[in-house]
Amino acid sequence: MGKRIISLSLAVFLTVMLLAGCANKGTSTTSDTGAGSKTETKTETKTEVTSSADQTNAADNAGLTVSWWGNQTRNERTQQVLDLYTQNNPGVTFDGQFAEWADYWNKLSTASAGHTLPDVVQMDYKYLEQYVSNNLLVDLIPYIDNGTLDVTGIDENILNSGKVNGGLYAIPIGVNAPALMYNKTLLDQNGITVKDNLSLDEFMALCKEIYEKTGYKTGAAYGDGDIFIEYTMRSLGSILYEKGKLGATQEQLQKFFEVYEKGISEGWMCDPSIYTERTIGTPEQMPLVYGSSPATMSWCAFSYSNALASLQNAAPEGTEIAMTTWPADDQKAANYLKPGMFFSVTVDSKNPEAAAKFISYWTNDVDANKILKGERGVPASAKVAEAIKDQMDQNQLKAVAYINNVVTPTSSVINPPAPEGSAEVSKLVDQLVEMVCYKQITAEDAAAQLFQKGNEMLAD
């Protein structure tokens, strides 16, 4: 009998301890009074930034989570910079998290629901508006005012692209432009030259010629969502996404699908089946650099100027990749400079001060940028861009020359950030392109469907 009571009370005791242990986790931080008190700094910085000795202290001692999307080259270089920062600031440690483009955004949205967003996130122009309107990012202007974040080197126009409703929510960390990457070695061998600013018809004629001479097909933007349709609409004078509706007419949309319809019927467009085996958006798996025979490969890829390094790395030995503009009938209207990537600080960050300081370092430190070598695009800070010029490799110099000499003279302002619902429309574009390529529907049907369903999706 006595034994039973002892064992029972022991069990009760243990359970209570277990429960208490669980509950403790939530409250223990509040009783903590040190500089690293997590809950305290969080509430403090959410409302306003106080400039005190405590804050600087907090900025020097922090564990920061930094997340980005990217490729092998980027992952390695970014990690090196994070390590370097820790070396210079022993109090700051990093947890670097990376994913591929599509997974990255799923991960981020899930994290936002759980209020566990990383401190610093790589942000894209496309998603900026959504994240700001849902109050997930921190306005960085107070940190510029108190001197933590130095953006003096960044051109006003480029910096403004990170502004939404008067607040600065994202710091551009690289400038890019759409670029058509192509296999220069292959074309040289066959005596074909590509000129900049091709029109759509010229482009299609070129694809046909290359296919007939070499057997290499054309991998036009496929599964990449709205990037090329948006470009084509720009050249026709329309903005793809307007508030609550599509900004293009059905006839204009049809023009985009006709490229694919024509390519498939003439045989020069890559067969859609090759994409079912690849992770789309990964440079290493683009048909430009990867495939078993010319029939499953492409002479070009629709990409951005900063992708040159990773594409060149992924290309077989002895293949030179060069770049030109995406085809469009009115290149001036279509082309644009894209403040490619941003760094933002999220509201879930326990130490936004340290996060802002890190972004400042990233933007202004020459040594860090010597490691990065402009892989995310030409450094936003003109001073840094100038300082690392000697360090730049061939690929980076090409990208800079392309942006300065080809894009800048013939381009116009980038479209406003895409509204909510655009992700679904973008997926619909993928599906319709797929159906056109499988010859299930005509370009005309595709345009009609996109016009009808796309407008419905945006209206919600």
Partner: protein, 301 residues
């Protein structure tokens, strides 16, 4: 005071309380990780919720939207096709292998382990990626066909007719757990039945259809129910290997749910899809239970 203390001891001594205390860890887990999330998901299914901002109650909107959603019907079709083809195939396969392995020899243990292996690693991402590579245009399947002198440039994953079959074959390959269950119930069939029938002049085939199969029906039933539910909830294979391509011909219901929830930010709609799935799985299970009395033998031996 003394009386109170006595009551407490008395209270703790009651058997039901002791049981409750010892099962508390499970009960807490059950509430925290199952019941509460389920309740929240039910609430979300009646909301406009895009993950990034807080949910807003929207009534039956998500459920009504489902009826107008072509992809919803398409994915139900694909999932039904997958489950109804792969599960019977897998069970037949499991039964055949179980019958072969039933005869005990020295190597039987090794073979059992070897055949069970795919089921252990089956649901994993690694196998899915391996599968994707095998069926690629330059994959091992085409290479083998090429070695045999057959046309070898076929895109298995890129053709609407074959893509779903790569997933079905993967599912059939993972027959291990059903096989083990079959094996153990094969062992429970008394050998006297076989001896008696041999005396009566029954051959192997007759023995199988008149003794083995009827006595296995409860096991077949159990496997059918479990595997059917698994079949409807399959996710990894589709998500890793095909992502629903080409043209949604392999888009499983669960993957569509995931896409709506996390890729298109229609999380409320995704939650509604999940609840409809629960209904469908429940209905299918009921249906199988309804047929039970027609073919499952429940008498003694």
């Amino acid at each position: 005071m003394r009386n109170n203390k006595f009551n407490l001891i008395h209270f703790l001594n009651r058997e039901s309380i002791a049981g409750l205390v010892f099962s508390l860890p499970f009960i807490i887990g059950f509430f925290m990780f199952l019941l509460v999330p389920m309740g929240i998901s039910l609430y979300y299914s009646f909301c406009d919720y895009n993950i990034l901002s807080p949910p807003v109650f929207a009534g039956l909107k998500n459920y009504i939207k489902m009826f107008q959603d072509e992809t919803f019907y398409k994915t139900i079709g694909v999932t039904l096709y997958f489950a109804l083809v792969s599960v019977p195939l897998r069970l037949v396969f499991a039964l055949i292998v179980a019958l072969i392995l039933f005869k005990t020899t020295k190597a039987t243990g090794l073979y059992r382990a070897a055949y069970y292996l795919p089921s252990i690693i089956g649901g994993s991402v690694a196998v899915s990626i391996l599968w994707k590579r095998m069926f690629a245009i330059d994959g091992v399947i085409n290479k083998l066909l090429g070695a045999m002198g057959l046309p070898s440039e076929f895109s298995w994953l890129g053709d609407t007719r074959t893509a779903i079959w790569t997933l079905i074959i993967l599912a059939v390959w993972q027959f291990g757990s059903s096989m083990l269950i079959f094996l153990s119930s094969l062992k429970q069939i008394p050998s006297t039945l076989y001896e008696a029938s041999t005396v009566d002049g029954a051959g192997k085939v007759k023995q199988f259809f008149h003794i083995t199969l009827p006595l296995l029906t409860p096991t077949i039933f159990f496997n059918l129910v479990m595997q059917m539910i698994n079949g409807f909830l399959a996710f990894t294979q589709c998500y890793i290997i095909t992502q629903g391509k080409p043209m949604n011909s392999t888009l499983f219901y669960t993957v569509y749910m995931y896409q709506q929830s996390f890729e298109y930010s229609n999380t409320g709609y995704g939650a509604a899809l999940a609840w409809v799935m629960l209904g469908i799985v429940g209905l299918m299970t009921l249906l199988i239970f309804g047929t039970k009395k027609f073919w499952v033998y429940e008498g003694g031996v």
